[in-house]
């Protein structure tokens, strides 16, 4: 095939004089005309400066008119070294290798090894590398770097053989709706997969300089990703014109981390993501950002730890992964290197700490890669990172950069250029069966009538330690949506503060679980009006649980706690569950359909449901309806009505001291009863007591007073004495035993001291009585408390009345008239 002996000889001659032939500036052969020589010179200069995609078309053009093995060798190298169509390098380099015969230049051997590696021909690659090593063994002038490269690649190929032989236990599919024939990479998701951000490089492989864009896609109602749009990036003037790339996204999807800068000094910035706009771009502090490179950021769900990449001095070489902790002042502390278990002398990139705070995914060129950078996974066990494990299915023989996993550990996202000869990346979704026992609480806070999103802060406290979970969850003001992730078997208190409503306390009990589930929560705050005055507010919490994984263990847990059902009913549930489970699995295995099919499936599900109910009605089949009922995912409602004691917004029913903060709140809503997934829950829990509210809204003339009791206080005292508590015993019994009896608690103070102080004192007295009643299981909603301030007019002091009589709390028990 190669007939040009002269050309070949010149080729061989060159090897003879120089072992290291990389860019082969060829001595011109007779076939080259003047213009062709000029072209060749241009191509060579492109090649030497690394602009392979520019050199390539010229070499190809020359190759079409001139038969020169050197040209073909150059073409092979261009293909191999550029990002595009690397697979084409093999045939050109093979040709060069064969033509060279025994006089083969050493470089051809190791380039051919590289080319084989790229196209997954690992055995062939190993042969070439071994050949190179044995040939250079006799040559003391051999390039030590190239020798090391061959040794490294030998190990890489052996890894690759081992890793690629393991069948993947995952389903991988491209996300059709995102696809745009451009290079999409670096996908980042919020924990609930409602938002995805990614980078799009437009023009890859099209011969011009590609441009990068930050794209956003959101989950639509049908569960498919919307057509991506470019985000609007609001940058202050001095940052404009710098390279800006995505570095990370917070679990709630509200904070974006950006990588901005020029050259080797890039820094991490945080910014707000609202709708499709990224704004309020702020540089992170000097502990994070140094004059070196910083990028790739991932924050834990509690917002206290930031994992990021830096090449600052003191690491293990190249880019390393560091972690910084948020200190008490709310600033990022001096970061720690993750250590040699994670970081190698090569580059580590794109850390992604999973929402469980214990699993990290990152990209590395070190460890056992199968080529280029690969994605690795490591877990933190007893404070130590486990040996990184090659993720396998994401990894190709060239660079693989980002992997993110949703909160349940069920679906992951990554980009790959596998099977794309232009090196364009496509975002893939992977069904990844590794359940992580977390509870994802996702919800909205709405206020007013009609309910609208409102600007609120949610603080979360650990109920046992009373410590605040540091992160303040600020729901999106446009949608009121928030997202939190909790580990199992803990109790939390959410304190929701807003401008126009009183702070509210909501208890959340996260059950012990060994599977993942999601709680959808809707918190509605509504003012209660009587004659156009706000007399209180109502907090409504709606919960829906979704069990993502129902395992046998989980079943046994729920069954142990489930209310007593007739025996046959349990059998029935099991039966139905099993059948559903089986059909589900089958469905998931064959689940490879497109969005259209999913829509069709949803429609079919509704059709099935409609037909099921219609048939049941037609045949009066109440059993089917019972089964359907038992299998329905229920939405739970808890309503707490809370009345202002004195019409002012400054005080409320109960006072709670948590940590360093004091909260005046409605009685806590206890969600602990939601620990049993709804399927097995009895309706007993679901009673809404509306009656107690009637006591609160009743007018004085509607009340039949049945008993009055007065407690007296010492000057400036508001605490209940032991005697007072004894006196209250009977009243408590009366209130507990009689659903129809409510109480009015009126606090008074004397006229000594300041008026406002006395007002507060009277309120405190009344509230302490209420608190004591509530502690003793009296339903707080049956009780009206008022602080009425001074019990007599100033100056009208009646000397016949004992002074103590002014400092009192009156407890009036009443029934409502029909």
């Amino acid at each position: 095939m190669i007939s040009n002996k002269f050309g070949f000889r010149s080729f061989a001659a060159k090897i003879a004089c120089c072992l290291v032939l990389t860019t082969a500036a060829l001595s011109a052969s007779a076939q080259y005309s003047q213009s062709e020589r000029k072209l060749l010179k241009t191509a060579n200069s492109y090649f030497e400066t690394g602009r392979y995609e520019k050199a390539l078309p010229i070499y190809i053009k020359l190759d079409s008119v001139i038969d020169d093995i050197n040209l073909r060798y150059q073409i092979g190298l261009c293909y191999l070294k550029s990002r595009y169509e690397q697979d084409k390098a093999v045939s050109y380099l093979e040709e060069a290798s064969v033509s060279a015969g025994t006089l083969i230049p050493l470089d051809v051997i190791w380039y051919l090894g590289d080319a084989y590696h790229v196209v997954y021909r690992f055995d062939d690659a190993i042969k070439e590398y071994n050949k190179y090593i044995s040939l250079t063994a006799k040559n003391d002038k051999a390039d030590i770097n190239k020798l090391n490269h061959c040794k490294l690649m030998l190990a890489t190929c052996r890894n690759a053989i081992e890793i690629t032989e393991i069948p993947y236990k995952v389903d991988i599919e491209p996300i059709i709706s995102l696809y745009a024939a451009e290079s999409d990479y670096n996908p980042l998701i919020s924990a609930d997969e409602s938002v995805m951000l990614f980078m799009r490089e437009i023009g890859v492989g099209k011969g011009f300089e590609p441009s990068t864009h930050i794209m956003i896609s959101t989950k639509e109602n049908g569960g498919s990703w919307s057509k991506p749009e470019e985000v609007t990036l609001v940058l202050e003037h001095k940052l404009q014109g710098h390279t800006t790339a995505l570095a990370g996204l917070s679990p709630d999807g509200h904070t974006v981390f950006l990588n901005i800068g020029e050259g080797l000094n890039k820094d991490i910035y945080s910014a707000k993501l609202q709708g499709k706009t990224i704004s309020e771009v702020k540089k992170l502090n000097k502990n994070i950002n140094t004059p070196y490179y910083e990028g790739g950021a991932s924050i834990t769900p509690d917002g206290t730890k930031l994992y990021f990449v830096s090449d600052r001095p003191g690491g293990f070489g190249g880019h390393d992964i560091y972690v910084s902790t948020l200190n008490k002042k709310g600033e990022w502390d001096e970061p720690e290197n993750l250590g040699e278990q994670i970081n190698t002398k090569f580059n580590e990139e794109s850390p992604y700490i999973h929402y469980d705070g214990q699993t990290i995914f990152f990209s590395s060129q070190g460890h056992n890669t199968i080529g280029g950078k690969d994605i690795f996974k490591s877990k933190r066990v007893n404070g130590q990172w486990t040996e990184p494990e090659n993720l396998g299915f994401t990894n190709t023989t060239i660079d693989d950069l980002t992997f993110v996993l949703n909160a349940s550990g069920e679906y992951g996202y990554f980009s790959t250029s596998r099977n794309n000869s232009y090196g364009r990346h496509t975002i893939m979704k992977v069904g990844y069966k590794d359940p992580i026992p977390l509870t994802l609480v996702k919800g909205t806070v709405l206020a007013g009538t009609p309910p609208k999103p409102i600007k609120v802060d949610i603080k979360v406290y650990d109920k046992n330690t009373h410590e605040q979970v540091k992160y303040v969850y600020t729901p999106d003001t446009e949608t009121g949506k928030y997202l939190m992730i909790f580990p199992p078997a803990k109790n939390y208190q959410l304190v929701i503060s807003t401008q126009n409503y009183m702070p509210q306390l909501i208890n959340i009990h996260i059950p012990y679980q060994n599977y993942f589930y999601e709680l959808y929560q809707e918190i509605t705050l509504q003012p209660i009006k009587l004659n156009n005055t706000d007399i209180g507010e109502e907090v409504m919490v709606n919960n829906v649980f979704y069990d993502i994984y129902k395992t046998t263990e989980a079943d046994s847990i729920t069954n142990n706690n489930s209310p007593q059902q007739p025996q046959y009913y349990e059998h029935l549930l099991e039966l139905v569950e099993n059948i559903i489970q089986t059909s589900d699995t089958i469905n998931k295995l064959s689940y490879n359909s497109h969005e259209a099919d999913k829509q069709a499936q949803l429609k079919k599900n509704t059709d099935d449901l409609l037909a099921l109910i219609e048939d049941a009605i037609n045949t009066q089949d109440s059993v089917t309806l019972s089964i359907l009922d038992a299998n329905t995912k229920q939405k739970d409602k808890v309503t707490e009505t809370h009345f202002y004691t004195d019409g002012s917004m400054s005080k409320s029913v109960t006072m709670q001291v948590i940590g360093k903060d004091t909260f005046y709140t409605a009685a806590p809503i206890d969600l602990s009863r939601f620990e049993i997934p709804t399927r097995n829950r009895s309706s007993v829990n679901r009673q809404e007591s509306t009656n107690p509210v009637m006591f609160k809204v009743s007018r004085p003339e509607q009340r039949n007073v049945i008993h009055k009791h007065t407690l007296y206080y010492k000057t400036n005292e508001s605490e209940l004495t032991a005697d007072a508590k004894k006196e209250l015993r009977q009243i408590i019994n009366l209130l507990i035993d009689n659903a129809s009896v409510g109480a009015e608690i009126n606090g008074y103070a004397d006229t000594q001291g300041e008026r406002t102080h006395n007002m507060n004192l009277s309120q405190l007295r009344a509230q302490n009585v209420l608190k004591y009643l509530q502690e003793n299981n009296v339903d707080g909603r049956k009780i009206i408390t008022k602080g009425l301030g001074e019990s007599t007019e100033r100056g009208k002091y009646d000397s016949r009345t004992r002074e103590m009589n002014y400092r009192r709390v009156e407890i009036i028990l009443f029934e409502l008239k029909d």
Partner: protein, 183 residues
């Protein structure tokens, strides 16, 4: 014991038919409720001239726990040849045209106001697990999960406002009667 066994067999059969052809099993509470409402329309007759243009107006008063589910269930499907139109209202004056009125998440005293306001118009009021909704004059009320029946019907109110409810539906409901002489 025997009856228990029979029930089990019946359940087993039903369970099979329930899941056959149905892939992703569990429905949410409001998907099921929407499906009930859809089917109610097939077993309820309104006075002859009350339905215009073959369209059933499904109204939701103030609180709407269904969201998009109503549209997904009703739109594009016909109940006894009739199309659906879904309207969300906050003022009862807009309830004029309604065939169904869903009432959810309100207190009893407010529910009484709503029913009073509707009066004798042939509107099928559907309470969403409201306490005593049928006792105070509502037509249909969904009952909480694990109740003996899934919904209750006040057939006296239905009669009074000129709505005919199929006996098939009545047989599955918990019947509430407000006329004392029937006790």
């Amino acid at each position: 014991m025997k009856s228990c066994k029979n029930i089990l067999i019946a359940f087993a059969t039903v369970a099979l038919s329930l899941t056959a052809g149905k892939a992703r099993a569990q429905y949410s509470e409001y998907e099921v409720k929407a499906a009930y409402i859809f089917n109610f329309a097939k077993f309820i007759e309104w006075p002859a001239d009350y339905i215009e243009n073959d369209t059933i107006y499904l109204c939701v008063y103030k609180n709407d726990p269904f969201g998009i589910i109503l549209e997904k269930t009703m739109i594009g499907r016909k109940a006894n040849g009739k199309d659906w139109k879904i309207i969300r209202i906050s003022n009862l004056n807009e309830a004029e045209k309604c065939h169904f009125l869903i009432v959810s998440g309100i207190k009893q005293h407010e529910a009484i106001q709503v029913l009073k306001c509707i009066g004798n118009k042939p509107i099928v009021t559907v309470g969403d697990e409201l306490n005593n909704f049928c006792n105070i004059g509502g037509v249909i009320n969904f009952l909480p999960q694990f109740s003996e029946r899934q919904f209750e019907i006040n057939k006296d109110v239905a009669n009074d406002i000129g709505i005919k409810i199929s006996p098939k539906l009545l047989l599955l409901a918990k019947i509430i009667s407000t006329k004392e002489d029937e006790f």
